[in-house]
Symmetry: C3
Subunit: 360 residues, 3 copies
């Protein structure tokens, strides 16, 4: 594709040779003369100067060394769009592989691709141009929209509904039973049947080996354009808002509602039955145990407001020193003598329930 | 099923029209006139009043608006039992799908169902009425009891033994090698062969993409009626007690024994070679690093007694303020002057090993 | 195998009957007369005395009760090597199962084993004596070296390159898209195409359901002899050093470089774009948010130097008591009266952003 054509598609201006033929994209360090690269800011100008790249997407004011250049205030965004245009993965050839097992009453669009050993269950539907890769399994009554990609290793249980342009990476499990038990008279866990369903709206992406469980009753819903990373859990009856970003190994416990545009960083988690307001930010490893208003920023376990958390973390590392200072003051003001100290310490130890005795 | 018949099966009393035909179950908000719902307590009475539900399971004393009602002290438990009776999933039709690969010397009960592309290895056994769903793989010498459900994506390695009524959700890996290494003379990790096995007892349920590793020597055992959630790890040589509940993304490191009825909340973990006493409760994200007596309740990392943890968490959020108060006291009692403060702070910084300087 | 032959292979001395025929290996408690066991130290001598084992690997000086014995300073290492020699799993028989789907232009070595329903994509290569177990899927342009074992449930996406003697446990996903987004003008996440690749070097082992994502551009690399446990994440563009050990459920965020021989304990994590120096130790649940020099030992979240962390954890459990002592001092030195206390507390509460009021 010519650079000028690409610039026009992005709605941006092109400096220099608009006829430059873009052959590929690459990082600065390994770019070849036919490659397009991008720089976020002046900070990368030196790397660009050393790069072998032939063309650049750059913000205004960054010297691109006379290379043909697309200028934009959002180089990362336009580079992402450019790559999608230049290298959009060729979808697998349409058709049902002879080794696939498709139920007689399933409906697979003629433009869809069903890979080797894939399984499409009774009454399931696969929309136009969607790809079900090798070995993926759709149980009965599954609905997959148009332009979806469902990679190998995915398992979609009964009655799961998937919108358009949904991307499921390898090993995603949709619609497994929620984890719900009650306890019988002898205190033994008894399964609560999980008979609800899962709805995945348009443009959702779900990472490798992540799980979204079916509802106990009703539905678990992941709304439009939400992005879920590898090994995350969305538990039964959650309602994940549009545009939510959920980073690796984080988890929503049951019946949690997450407002639009919230960002949940890695290994964060919520307890069940919470409402997280729109546009919130849950820091890495945050453990949220109560409802959060819109726009909250929290960290820590249990999670607290970001500013409090920063002050607390900073103070925490001074705590051993503070305890020494506290003892010095007690001696100064006559609140501490040798005998009293021993008694006090023994008391503290009893309270600390057998914790290892801290060094002093 | 008639409501009176259901009440009798549950051993409960039925108020009102015992002939009411239960057509389905639903949450309060979306129930139709043929649906059975449940309420836990008086707290849900208003929701029930607004609900379209035709019949109710409720505790004594809750007004059910004249609907036919099953009275019980345990509405959640009886509702779970009712749903299991009303909607018990129809098992797949018995038989071996023509695309399944079953070893000549495997023994599959005639009432079992082996799905498309499933694989049953040499000398493996599948018991009565068990379902091996599409694409699931049993290696050689695997033993699956009666009435099990093994979903698609599950991989059961050699010599794993599975009891009766075991439910494995999609993507469960049983019998992968434990993670065991020693280090050679050059400090490089050297694999310790993992040649033990895995035993899963009756009525165990294991969540999507969870893993239970084979023992180094001997066995890894998950005892009767234990319930394991998605993405959990049970490492080599663990012994998980009966009725243990293990919530999402939690992990037992190697050779950990967990006593009967313990509850392990989400993302909790243990270090290896521990004994957790029966009936313990490990709070969410607890990191247990030592043996626990029966009935322990712990939280935090490293985990401590629940009461200490609560006090500590509460105190922690006051720590920045406490440090300010400490400085005020030092000035009052003459333990702090401007020069001394600077020296003291420099010292504290050296000790804190390069931590970012806290704001004050 | 005769014990003397085994000792010679290990380069160690054999005491007693060198002709002893080793029939198996076992833990001390369940060993039979034909079994070889090992003891690490004198501490296990009593267990050995009670054991039915016929032969022992033991350090010098430990009484083995007259059993034929291989003496070594490293019993664990030599036992691991002995087991590998004695019980090395028989590889599956070479050949392509008739139900496997191998692309016409794929190249599978005649000594390799491709299991039932496995898929080998266009132009992919499988080296000598490698086993691709039932149902595993290799997309197009994948390269697998010699003597690899790829278990069922593994999914290897396009262009992933795997060295020799690599062991992938069930459900490993290699080459899934990295989790990279930018945000459009309306604040919605927009996918950054992930068009780089994954390289897994020789002798790497990756645990069940773990994921290694493809690079955005360039490559994600796991270097020689690195060992990754179940359910770990190696994100896009990471470079994991040789001999790194990464324990269960830990995660490297994008573009993290980990130096040779580092040990990353369970549930630990890094933020992106970090450099972790060689030979470092990240304790369980450590959350590393900045570069670490070689040989670092860190714990906590955010992670700090191990010694500081130990002191802080110890101090933390005394914090509630310290706050009581602080109040006592304030009363003594006239910095606290009843009225002042209430005002101060109200102020503290405002600062703490709505945290639950701590008990006192």
């Amino acid at each position: 594709m010519a650079l000028g054509e690409l610039a026009a598609a992005l709605g941006r201006a092109c400096e220099g040779d608009a006829g430059f033929a873009v052959r590929g994209v690459a990082p600065l360090e390994s770019a070849a003369p036919g490659d397009l690269v991008f720089v976020r800011s002046q900070r990368y100008a030196a790397g660009l100067a050393r790069s072998g790249a032939g063309a650049v997407i750059a913000p205004p004011g960054v010297d691109t060394g006379g290379r043909p250049t697309i200028r934009t205030e959002r180089p990362d965004l336009d580079f992402a769009r450019a790559v999608a245009r230049l290298l959009g993965a060729a979808p697998p050839a349409p058709g049902i592989h002879p080794t696939a097992v498709v139920a007689a009453d399933a409906r697979v669009d003629a433009s869809a691709a069903i890979g080797p050993h894939a399984v499409v269950g009774a009454r399931s539907v696969v929309g136009a141009r969607s790809a079900i890769h090798a070995g993926a399994v759709l149980y009965a009554d599954v609905r997959v929209g148009a332009d979806c990609v469902i990679h190998s290793g995915c398992v979609i249980r009964e009655e799961v509904a998937i919108g358009d342009r949904v991307l499921l990476h390898p090993g995603v499990a949709l619609g497994a039973d929620g984890f719900g038990y009650t306890f019988d008279e002898a205190g033994r866990p008894v399964k609560i049947p999980q008979i609800g369903r899962v709805v995945i709206e348009d443009d959702v992406e779900i990472g490798a080996n992540a799980t979204v469980d079916r509802a106990t009753l009703g539905e678990t819903r992941v709304r439009r354009n939400a992005k879920i990373d590898n090994l995350c859990i969305v538990a039964h009856n959650c309602d994940m808002g549009e545009d939510v970003v959920m980073v690796g190994q984080s988890a929503l416990a049951g019946s949690t509602t997450v407002g639009r545009g919230t960002i949940i960083m890695g290994q964060a988690a919520t307890t069940g039955h919470l409402a997280i307001g729109a546009g919130s930010f849950l820091g890495g490893r945050a453990a949220v145990a109560r409802d959060l208003p819109a726009g909250s920023r929290v960290w820590g376990a249990p999670a607290v407001d970001e500013r409090l958390w920063r002050r607390t973390v900073a103070a925490l590392n001074r705590l051993p020193e503070a305890l020494r200072r506290l003892r010095a003051i007690e001696r100064r003001v006559g609140l501490r003598q040798a005998g009293a100290v021993r008694a006090q310490r023994a008391e503290a130890e009893r309270r600390s329930s057998g914790e290892p005795e801290p060094e002093e």
